[in-house]
């Protein structure tokens, strides 16, 4: 039933809906409505949307297995949105927060574990984003393409860890996000193990 409805909904709507938060944030920035520290607000909101899209992306195959709702055709759009928000999050930090003070930027990337881990997640996602098109899939062949895209699991764990570590004390929200990622990675792993056995 749900699958029938989904048949008629193009992934383009996911791109459209997914870019709305970005557009709203840009509008808010231009209209001075991001609050007292707009730089941090923008940085945090972008990171937050990235991790939200990451979680939805990771949920696609468990949802298919458990609820038999097929969202696979939206997964690429969700993944690309995850990367887009991660990139904006990183750029906001580099451009507006650290402001290209290279020495500080590089030292932060190396010396501060929460930044290093977040940056690794972003860098790790880059080849996945770049190969998120039909051409790359054809060129690479489905086997090695799929192998490459399995990287999203360790990347997801890095991203969740980054969010938890950003906070100075143990906070509930990032812990919930990390637990969700752990759960989804776990379920995907179990699904794969089972399929292998069959």
């Amino acid at each position: 039933m749900l699958n029938n409805i989904l048949k008629n909904i193009s992934p383009r709507y996911v791109y459209f809906m997914g870019s709305l938060p970005f557009l709203i944030l840009v509008l808010m920035a231009f209209s001075n409505s991001l609050g007292i520290d707009p730089v941090k607000k923008l940085e945090h909101e972008l990171g937050d949307f990235s991790i939200k899209f990451l979680i939805i992306t990771l949920a696609v195959s468990p949802i298919q297995e458990i609820f038999t709702v097929n969202l696979i055709k939206y997964r690429r759009a969700l993944g690309v949105l995850t990367y887009f928000y991660a990139m904006c999050h990183f750029l906001t930090w580099a451009v507006f927060d650290i402001q290209f003070i290279w020495e500080q930027l590089i030292r932060d990337l190396i010396k501060r574990p929460y930044i290093t881990i977040g940056f690794l997640a972003f860098v790790g996602m880059t080849p996945l984003a770049l190969t998120s098109n039909a051409f790359s899939l054809r060129k690479m062949g489905p086997v090695s393409w799929r192998k490459l895209h399995k990287l999203i699991y360790p990347i997801g764990l890095l991203a969740g860890t980054h969010f938890v570590m950003v906070k100075k004390v143990w906070e509930t929200e990032p812990m919930i996000y990390l637990s969700m990622i752990l759960m989804l990675v776990g379920i995907s792993f179990v699904i794969r193990q089972r399929k292998r056995k069959l």
């Binding site: 520290d37 402001q99 501060r112």
Partner: protein
């Protein structure tokens, strides 16, 4: 008091309470973003960065770290209204001649209130300029009569989880505690603030009485104080209990002593929006002339 501190910032440096939207030159910031990595406005060492841009009451009272009311910067403004600040009393105990539970209004009658405009530097590498109203901590200590054996002053925030919801969470080991070495506490720059912009402190800024030590990171300036204890040994302090590697007892503003989480070399002045240039952080937050002598023989890397 042998000498009273004179601020290098005058009332002219203070932005009126009204909110200045014109200060936020946003468009510029975004054209820079559009140009992406090509622009690069690294001016950490520019002369211009040293100019003071004082903060509005809205900024000072809307952007706070006060984990008793939540960990978000906007949380204290949202939730601190629940705190009852009257009546209020401060217990002064330990190595003092006149220990006791003093009502705040009685104490204030004995103190001379004055306005002090200070730079305020958070350990998270942001800063503000704040027009406090308060009295010198030294005056209060003189009133209480510090005994010879005392070497440190410990402070405690109110513990009242029913009015401070964050105290129901295990963010920190409540109540919040801070401390100073006695000579730091007696320094004329150390004040007990009771007001902002000539009015009473908003709850989120630490009403009704808080410490302000402008050459140290903001978390040293403990809010809503109910207890002051003079002691011989160095008191334990909340953030260094939570994470001793990251937060030390002294926590003097120092651009060359790196914090594991943030480079302390530069800071962002709150209130200048997207184009705010990072400015270099000054040793002792720019109060070196007044306080450097306190630390003459100390290794500031080891005693961070």
């Amino acid at each position: 008091m042998s000498y009273r501190y004179k601020s290098d910032l005058s009332i002219r440096d203070v932005t009126p309470e009204s909110f200045f939207i014109s200060r936020r030159k946003l468009t510029l910031g975004f054209s820079a973003m559009a140009a992406g990595g090509l622009v690069g406005f690294n001016t950490a060492n520019s002369e211009e960065a040293a100019t003071e841009t004082p903060n509005t009451l809205e900024e000072i009272s809307g952007y706070n770290n006060y984990y008793e009311f939540g960990t978000g910067k906007g949380d204290p403004a949202k939730y601190a209204g629940t705190l009852t600040t009257e009546p209020w009393s401060v217990k002064i105990d330990g190595m003092v001649e006149k220990p006791g539970e003093y009502s705040l209004s009685d104490l204030l009658e004995k103190m001379v209130l004055e306005d002090r405009i200070y730079r305020f530097r958070c350990v998270e590498a942001w800063s503000m300029v704040i027009p406090w109203r308060g009295f010198e901590l030294a005056d209060l200590l003189e009133f209480a009569g510090v005994k010879k054996e005392a070497k440190y002053v410990a402070f405690e925030t109110l513990l009242r989880p029913e009015e401070m919801w964050g105290q129901n969470k295990n963010y920190l080991d409540w109540p919040y505690r801070e401390g100073l070495r006695l000579d730091e506490a007696l320094h004329p720059l150390s004040i007990m603030a009771t007001g902002l912009y000539g009015k009473s402190l908003p709850n989120q800024n630490g009403a009704p009485i808080r410490l302000v030590v402008p050459w140290k990171y903001g978390f040293k300036s403990i809010k809503a104080i109910v207890r002051i204890t003079l002691m011989e040994e160095q008191p334990r302090t909340s953030w260094s209990i939570a994470n001793p590697r990251e937060y030390g007892f002294y926590s003097n503003v120092n651009p060359v002593v790196d914090h594991p989480r943030w480079s302390q070399a530069s800071e962002r002045r709150i209130g200048s929006g997207f184009v705010a240039k990072r400015q270099p952080t000054l040793l002792f937050n720019g109060y070196g002339e007044e306080v450097a002598s306190l630390y003459e023989d100390m290794d500031l890397q080891a005693f961070y």
